[in-house]
Symmetry: D2
Subunit: 322 residues, 4 copies
C-alpha cells in the first residue's frame, strides 16, 4: 500500500448541517498526522475541473458550527460518464492525491464505486444527508439538525393552530422512509403522522380530529415522500368536510440549513477523524458510520439499502399517532 501523504476531500449531493464539522475533523486529524489536505469544490465537478484549494485547519475550526458546506456541492452529470471519471483520475494524479474522502449520500458513494473501477486510489466515505437513510450508520450527518429545525417550526405552527383550533397539515422533508416525519411528529405530539406505506384513512382522521367546532388544534405531519402528499391529502379531507378549517405548511429547505446541532457537530468530528485514521490503516472503499454506538466501516456496496421502519418505531407510531 502506497504511503498516504496527501488527502483530497469533497462534499457532494445535497448539503446537510454537520458537513463542515466533518471537514474540521478531517483537517485536524490530517494535520496531526502531517498529511497535506486539499479540498475539491463543488463535489465531483471540482474533481473533474481540478478546482481544488488548500484547506486551512484553523479556518475550518472556526466554521465547525455552520450549516451548508464550505466546499460547496453540485450534482454532476459529467461524472456519470466514463470520460468525466477519467478526467477526474487525471486530476488526482497530476495533483499527487493519494486518497480521497467524500462526504455525501448514496449517490455520492455510487459514484465512488463506479470510480473505483478505473481508479485504484483508496476512497473513504462519510454519510452526509438529512434523510438518515443509509445502512452502515444509525445516524447520518444532518438528520438530527433537520429534525430539530422541523420541531422548532412545528412548535411555532402549533401556537397559531391552537389559537384557531385548526387542522394543520405540515409537510417535512424525507425521501423513502419518513424518519424526519416520525421523529418530528412524535417529538411535537402530532395527532397523526403520514409516511410512505402507511395507509391513509381520511374519514377516520377527520373523525379523530372532531367536528369543525373542535376544542383543540389537530396537527398532521406528512412526509415529503408520502405517496399522496400534503396538498392532495388536504383536498381529500375537504371533500369529506368542505367546512373544515384547515391550513397547509411546507417546511421545505429550511430543514437543510442552519447551524449544526450538538449531535451533528460531534458526529461530524468523530466521522471525519475516523475517515482519516481508516485510510492511514489501509482501509478503502468503505463508509465510516456509527452503528450501535460504535465507529464502524461499511463497504460502499452495502451502504445503499432499503430502509424499513424498525419494530420499535412501528410500535411507537401505533401508540402515539395515526
Amino acid at each position: 500500500m502506497k504511503t498516504i501523504k496527501h488527502i483530497g476531500v469533497f462534499t457532494s449531493g445535497g448539503d446537510s448541517p454537520g458537513m463542515n464539522a466533518a471537514l474540521h475533523g478531517v483537517a485536524k486529524t490530517a494535520e496531526m498526522n502531517n498529511l497535506r489536505l486539499s479540498g475539491f469544490k463543488k463535489g465531483y465537478e471540482g474533481l473533474i475541473d481540478g478546482d481544488l484549494v488548500q484547506l486551512d485547519s484553523s479556518q475550518l475550526k472556526k466554521n465547525v458550527h455552520r450549516g451548508g458546506t464550505l466546499l460547496k456541492t453540485a450534482r454532476s452529470k459529467r461524472f456519470l460518464t466514463l470520460e468525466g471519471r477519467q478526467r477526474a483520475m487525471q486530476i488526482l494524479e497530476t495533483n499527487k492525491v493519494d486518497a480521497l474522502i467524500a462526504i455525501g449520500g448514496d449517490g455520492t458513494f455510487k459514484g465512488l464505486l463506479a470510480f473505483s473501477e478505473i481508479c485504484d486510489l483508496p476512497f473513504l466515505g462519510i454519510p452526509g444527508t438529512i434523510d438518515n437513510d443509509l445502512a452502515g450508520t444509525d445516524f447520518t450527518l444532518g438528520f438530527d439538525s433537520a429534525v430539530n429545525t422541523a420541531i422548532e417550526n412545528i412548535d411555532k405552527i402549533r401556537d397559531t393552530a391552537e389559537s384557531h383550533n385548526r387542522i394543520f397539515l405540515i409537510e417535512v422533508m424525507g425521501r423513502d422512509c419518513g424518519y424526519i416525519a416520525i421523529h418530528s411528529g412524535l417529538g411535537t405530539g402530532a395527532d397523526a403522522i403520514l409516511i410512505p406505506e402507511s395507509g391513509h384513512d381520511f374519514t377516520q382522521l377527520l373523525e379523530k380530529a372532531g367536528s369543525y367546532d373542535r376544542e383543540e388544534a389537530f396537527v398532521v405531519i406528512v412526509s415529503e415522500g408520502d405517496e399522496l402528499g400534503v396538498e392532495p391529502a388536504a383536498k381529500k379531507i375537504k371533500e369529506i368536510n368542505p367546512e373544515v378549517d384547515l391550513r397547509i405548511a411546507k417546511l421545505g429547505h429550511v430543514q437543510r440549513g442552519g447551524n449544526a446541532s450538538a449531535f451533528d457537530r460531534m458526529l461530524g468530528i468523530r466521522l471525519g477523524t475516523a475517515a482519516v485514521e481508516a485510510l492511514l490503516h489501509g482501509r478503502k472503499n468503505v463508509m465510516a458510520g456509527i452503528l450501535n454506538n460504535q465507529l464502524s466501516l461499511t463497504p460502499f456496496d452495502q451502504v445503499v439499502k432499503e430502509h424499513q421502519v424498525n419494530d420499535e418505531l412501528r410500535s411507537l407510531l401505533k401508540i402515539f399517532g395515526s
Copy 2:
C-alpha cells in the same frame, strides 16, 4: 361616565405573538386598580355565546412569553349580523361588563365600530397582527416576532442556497404593503425584494443573478401580497432560462407563531397597561399604539388606512435590493 369595575377582554382575527403579553398587561393593571377582568374566548364568537372566563393575573404572567393567544380566536360570521351584535350586547349586560378591550387587526376594530352603533360601552383597541399595517401605531403586536422568525429561516435557507449557488425565491407573509418582506429582505442581505407595486423585471433579475454557473447564491424575498406571487415568478424566470437552478420556499404560518420577541413582549405589556388606563380616564373607541415612540390613542375610524412604504424605506430598497 359610569365607573368601570369590570372589564372584558378578547383576542380576534389572526393570532400574533405578543397577544399574551398584552393580556398580562391588561390583567395586572386591572388587578392593581381593583377591577374585575373577564376574558371572552374565541373572539367575537365568545361575546355572542357568553363564553367567558375569569382571568388570573398570575397565570397570565407565566405565559407572557407565549405566542398564540390563551383566549383563542376565531373569525365570526355571526357578529357581522345585527342579531349577532345584539346577542353580544345582551351578554355584556347580563355579565355586568363595563368596558371592553379587543386585541386584533383592522377587522376587529371595524367590528367594534359597528358595535358602537348599538352599544355605548367604552371600547379600547390594541393592535395585534403580524402585518404591521395599521395607522395609529408604528408597530403592531407580532410584527417584530414575525420578522425575526422570517430572518432565522432565511438565514438557514442561505446555508443550503450558498452550498449549491442556487437562486431561491422565498415567500414571506404580508398583505398589502410588504413590510415583512422589506425588513427580512434587508436584514438577510437579499439580492432582490418583490413587494406589491414594485415592478418586476425578471430579465434584469436574471442578469443580476448571473449565469447558471454563478459563484454565489441569489436570494429573492417575495411578499405574499405581491401581485405575481412566488410560483408564477419562478415560472417566468424559468421561461427566460430553463436551465436555471432555482428553488422555492414558502415560510408560511411559522411566522405567526413562536414565543414573542423581546420587543413584542414589551409592546404588549405597554399597550395592555395603556388600554386599561385609558379606559379609567374615560377614553373610548380608540386604539392604543406607539407613534413616534410615544403612547398614543387613535380613533377606530382613523386606524384602518392604506399604508405606503415611506420615503426612507423606499430609498433603502433602491440601495440594497432590486
Copy 3:
C-alpha cells in the same frame, strides 16, 4: 405477580429537559393499556405526603416539548429516613398503586433500592439528568439539550471573544466526568478543554494562546467538576501574565432548562413507553436505557458506576484540544 392496574410516576433530583416527554410516553402507553396513572408531585416528598394528581394524557402531549417537569421535583430529606419510607409505602397502599416509575438520577435510584427493602412493589427507573453519568444507558434525558444550550451560548460568546481577540474561560455544568465540556468544547472548536483528571499546564496554555497581541480569540471550556475551577484557573493565568485580556463566563442553570431537543423528546418517549411495557412484562427494580442503540434494562445496583472517558473521546481530546 399481581396484575398492574394503577401506575404511579414521579420526577426526582435535578430536573432536566425530556422529563416531560417521558411523562407523555408513560401516560400514553398507560392509556393504551387501560391503566390508571397518578403523578406524585415534588419527587419523594409527594410520595410521603400523598400529593398525587390524575395525569391527563392529552395535557402531557401538549407539553412534550417543555423543559423542567410538570410534576415538579424536590430533594427529600424525609425519604432518607425509614419513617419517611414507611409513610410512602402507606400512601401507595392506600391509593392502590401497583407499580412505580421514577424519572431521575442516581440519587433517585439509590432511593428506590432502599425503598425496595421494605416495599415489594415493582419499581422502574428512567434516567433523567443532564450529566449523562449513568451506566446502563449511553444517553440520559437532558444531556443532548444541555449540550445544545451550552454550544449556542458558547457560539454567542465567541462573537465577542473574536471581536476583542480575548481569552475566555467558559464554565459548563457537569459533575465527575466532564461530558458536557467535552461535547460542547469539541462542537465549538474550543482551544482547550479542562475536565476532571486532566492535568492543567497553564504556562503551556498561555503559550498556545499566544501573546497579549494575538490575532484571534482563545476559548477554554472548563467543566464545573474540574478540580481547579474557572475562577482559580483565571487567577493562575493572570499570575503568569498580568496583562492578559481574559474574561470568565459561567453558563450555569440555563443548561438545565429550555425546550427539550429533538433527541431528548424522542428518548423520553421511547423510555417512558419502555418503562410501562417493562412493568407489564413483570420486570422490576431496573432502569430503562439505550445501550448500543437498543432499549435496555439495567438493575438499579449496576446503574451507579464510575464513568471513564472512553478511548475514542480521549483520543479526540488529544487531537482537538489541550
Copy 4:
C-alpha cells in the same frame, strides 16, 4: 467643504450585535455613491497603526446577520494621548481619507470630540453598545439583541426554577440605568427587578416570595450596575432566611454576542446609510440615531448624557415588579 471621495470606518469600545449590519449599510451606500471605503481594524488602535483594509460590500452583505464586528475592536490607551491622536491624523492624511465613521459607545464619541480639536476632517458617529444609554437615540445597536438573548436564557432558567419552586437571582448586563434588566424582567414576568437607584428591601422581597415551601418559582432580575449586586443580594436574603432555596445566575457575555436581531439589523442598515448620506450633505461631528422614530443627528457633546428611567417605565416597574 472638500468633496468626499474616501471614507474610513471603524468599530470601537465594546462590540455589539448590529455593528456588522451598520458596516453593510455604510459599505453599500458608499458603493452606490462611488466612494472608496476603508476599514480600520481594532478601533482607534487601527487608526494609529494604519491597520486598514479595503472593505468589500458583497462580503459585508453576507455577514449582515453576525454578531461581533468584522473589523474587531479594542480599547486604546494610546489614543488618549495627544501623540497617539497626531499619529492617527497622519495616517488619515497619508491614506487620503476624507471622512471618518465610528461605530461605538460614549467612549468612542468622546474620543472623536478630542480628535476634532486637532483634526478637522468630518466625523460621523453610529451608536453601538448593548446598554442603550446614549442620548440622541431611542435605541443603540445591540440593545434589542441583548434583551432577546437575556430573555431566552431567563425563559430557560424559569423551567428549572419552576421545577424546584426556587428563588433565582439572575444578573443581566447594563451599566448605569438598568434598561436590559427592565426590559428582560418585564418580558419574562419577573417577580422583582433590581436596578440602580431602586431601593432594596429584602425582607419585603422574601415576604413576597413566600416561605420556603412556596408553590412557585420566584425570579429576580438584577442589573449588573445595581449598587448591591447579585452575590451580596443573595447573601442578604440568606441572612434573613438561612433555609431559603436560592440560586444565582450571571448571564454575562452571552448578551454581547449572537446573531443580530431583526430590529438591530434594520437599525444598523438605517444608521449606516444615514451616516454616509449625512457626510455627503456636509454634516460633521454628529451621531446618527433614531429619535421618536425619525432619523436624527445629534452633536457629540450632547450624546453623552445621564439617562433617567422615564415616567412610563417607572410606572410599569411599579405595576409589574419590585
